[in-house]
Structure formats: C-alpha cells, structure tokens
C-alpha cells in the first residue's frame, strides 16, 4: 500500500494545483466554486493520505475531513445561491474587476449600470 499512498499524496497535490489554476484562469463564478471544491477535496485527500498508518487512516483526520466536507457543502450552497442571485440582477456571472473588455467600455461610456 505504501506505493499507493505516495501516489495519492502526489495526486492530491496535483488536484490542489488544478484547483488553483482554475481560480487564476476562470472568471466565471460557477467555475470558481468548482475550483474551490477541487482544492478542498485535494487538501482533504492529502490530509487523509498523510494520516495513513499502515492498515488504515488515523480516525482523527477522518473525522476532521468529514466535518470539512459538510462545511464545504454549506459554503458551496451559499456561494451558488449568491451567484444565481447576482446573475439575475446583472445578467452576468463574472465580477466587474475580472472583465478586461469592460474596463475599456467603462472609460469610454461611463460603465454599465
């Protein structure tokens, strides 16, 4: 199992990287919520794999990860309903500071409402 544990540690680290990359290259808010969840589950998996004690995972990290999964869902729910409401108000799913083309528009036409 030791080889597999190393594999899970490497994969979990890569998942954290993939999630961070999503934060950097995606302006769409729903994609950012996805990225948040991938970083989160990557961190949980890293925590669990490092808790491997030959034959099983230390129960303390397991319990903390279960708590983490539930709290991540609560945060995701708030974020997604907020994004939905924001889109209904503005017709967009990205933030003004992330819009390159809008900066131009703002300086010439006084910005969007």
């Amino acid at each position: 199992m030791t080889g597999s544990v190393v594999l899970f540690v490497v994969t979990a680290s890569a998942l954290i990287g993939i999630g961070l990359w999503g934060f950097l290259v995606q302006a769409h808010l729903l994609r950012r919520v996805l990225a948040f969840n991938v970083v989160g589950s990557g961190l949980f998996l890293l925590f669990g794999a490092l808790g491997w004690r030959g034959g099983g995972v230390d129960p303390v990290p397991q319990a903390l990860v279960i708590t983490g999964i539930v709290v991540a869902l609560a945060a995701t729910a708030v974020a997604l309903w907020l994004v939905g409401r924001f889109a209904e108000e503005t017709g967009r799913a990205d933030l003004p500071e992330d819009r390159r083309e809008d900066r131009q528009e703002k300086s010439s036409a006084g910005g969007r409402p």
Binding site: M1, G3, S4, V5, L7, F8, V9, T11, S13, A14, L15, I16, G17, I18, G19, L20, W21, L24, V25, Q26, H28, L30, R31, L34, N37, V38, S41, F44, G48, L50, G51, R53, G55, G56, V57, D58, P59, V60, Q62, A63, L64, V65, I66, T67, V70, L73, A74, T76, A77, V78, L80, W81, G84, R85, A87, E88, G91, R92, A93, D94
Partner: protein
C-alpha cells in the same frame, strides 16, 4: 495489481478535475465534477476510510452536484454568458509550482505518529466502537456541535437572499414534474428504500462505517426526490415545525453536552452514559442535518409564476 488500479484511479481523478475546471460548457463541467467526486470517494475506499468515502459520495458528489445543476439552470435562465478560459503560461506555472511544492513537502515531512494510538486507547471509554464516530461525537464533540450550527448559519444566509415580496412563498424553485412520469415513479419507489438505508447508516455508525451526516444526507436526498417530483408540499421559511426540526439537533446536542457539566464537564460524556448520550444526540442531529441539507439545496423562497 492494486497499485495499477490506484494508478488508473488517480489518472481518472486528475482528468475529471481538469475537465470540470477547464472543459467547455458549464453543464458538462458539472457532470465531470460529479464523476470527479465519485473517483475521490473511491480513493477514500482504497485508503480504508469508508466513513469519509460515504460522506464524499453523498455530500461532495451528490448534493454538491445537485446544487451545481440547479445553479447552471438558473444562470441559463438569467442569460449569463459563458466564456472561454484565459489560458496563459504564468497561471499554469504558478499552479504547477504550488502543486510541486505541496507534494515535495508532503513527501519529505517525517511522520509525527498522529493520534491513532491515543484514539485507540480511549475508544473503550467512548461508548461507541467506530473510532471515527468516537472522534466526531465524543473526543471532538465541539467541532461537530459548531459544524451543525455552521449548517444552520449557511441556511440563514441562503434564505437572506430572498426578495422582500418572495418571503411569503414556499422555499425552492418552481417545479414542474410530469404526472405519471419517470421522476414521479422513482419518487414513489425510492423513498422507502432510502429511509431504511438512511436510518441504518445512523444506527450502524456506532460500530461500523456510517453516522449522522451520512444517514442524514441519504434522508435529505429522499426528501429532495419527493419534493422535485411534486409529491410533497414545500414549506415556507416561517413554518414552525420545520424551524423546530432545523434547530432540534444543535439544541439537543447543547442540552446533552451541558448535562455533562453535572457529570464532569461541558461536552464530556462519562463512559457509562456515553452510548445513550451519543445516540440521543445522533437521532436529533440526523433529523436536523437532513432538514438543513434539503433546504440548502432547495434554496430561498422563489416566485411561483411561470417564466
């Protein structure tokens, strides 16, 4: 052979994560995210952490997936445009750097021993046989109590997004299920099975994998299927009985925890009483978790007029 299995599993995990974050189309990204959640749950199975695998599959993949699908539909109705990734070398290098540094540190860090032995030694005094349940509801009961309050706070935040004039409406989006359709058939077939599985997971959680969160999620899913098919009426946020159900778990947890004051300390369960105290907390906690999770997915009250 098993290493080969893990190799394939890890490759699938990475591909699904990449497709969810960088792939084209929001709907497709959401579907890939659910697939990703299932592969992560399988990884937890491979690590022998069945409790976490159940939580990841039910909450991380299932409920999160349902929330995401609802959000995709809502964004489409709002006419929010999608746009391609702003790919570049700098973000890719930064992310690769962080991933590399994380992996390098994680592999170099010497094992500290963890709390494996301490948890094992205290297990006979905890009142339950499943070490994860012992940590969740006894050794680290504080975390779990506050977590159940976090869930409640999140629901308040979601409800706070309702417009003034919508506050009188029932929670959740307007639903139109075809009478006699597949969804309605499933919604009549699945709940009896789901309720048995949910209650079993809570009961079995004392000695086997399972517990209040996994069981509560299954019960929430049962309620959601019935609600989506229009078989049960959705409550208004000011419904007294629903508010009681939402608050019962944290309230009973606090009461039982406070009764520990007479026996040793706040949230300290004496060994002779621990099993009864933990089971009492778990029953009410399951009820509140199921209600809170289902209402979090359904969202704030929304107008019932046809779009």
């Amino acid at each position: 052979m098993t290493v080969l299995f893990d190799l394939v599993l890890c490759a699938l995990m990475l591909l699904a994560a990449l497709a969810a974050i960088g792939g084209r189309g929001l709907f497709r990204a959401t579907v890939f995210f659910v697939a990703y959640g299932i592969t992560v749950a399988l990884a937890w199975v491979r690590l022998g952490a069945i409790d976490v695998a159940l939580a990841e599959a039910a909450i991380g993949a299932g409920l999160t997936g349902l929330l995401l699908l609802g959000a995709v539909a809502r964004l489409r109705r709002a006419g929010a445009p999608e746009f391609p990734v702003r790919a570049g070398l700098v973000p890719a290098l930064a992310a690769a750097g962080v991933a590399g540094a994380t992996g390098w540190v994680a592999l170099r860090v010497p094992g500290a021993g963890g709390l494996w032995t301490e948890a094992g030694e205290a297990l006979p005094l905890s009142g339950v046989e499943n070490p994860v349940t012992a940590v969740l509801l006894n050794f680290r009961a504080w975390d779990t109590l506050l977590e159940s309050i976090v869930l409640l706070a999140a629901l308040l935040a979601v409800w706070a997004l309702a417009r003034e004039e919508e506050w009188e409406a029932p929670v959740g989006p307007p639903l139109h299920a075809r009478p006699g359709g597949v969804l309605e058939g499933m919604a009549r077939l699945l709940p009896p099975v789901g309720i048995v599985v949910g209650v079993f997971l809570v009961w079995a959680g004392a000695s086997q994998p399972g517990g209040a969160f996994q069981g509560g999620t299954v019960l929430a899913a049962v309620g959601l299927i019935a609600a989506l098919a229009g078989l049960v009426a959705l409550p208004r946020p000011d419904s007294g009985s629903w508010r009681t159900a939402l608050a019962a778990g944290p309230a009973v947890f606090l009461l039982v925890g406070a009764s520990g004051l007479a026996l040793g300390g706040l949230l300290l369960f004496p060994p002779d009483w621990a099993k009864a105290m933990i089971l009492t907390v778990e029953v009410f906690l399951t009820l509140s978790i199921a209600a809170t999770l289902a209402l979090l997915v359904l969202g704030p009250p929304q107008p019932r007029r046809m779009p």
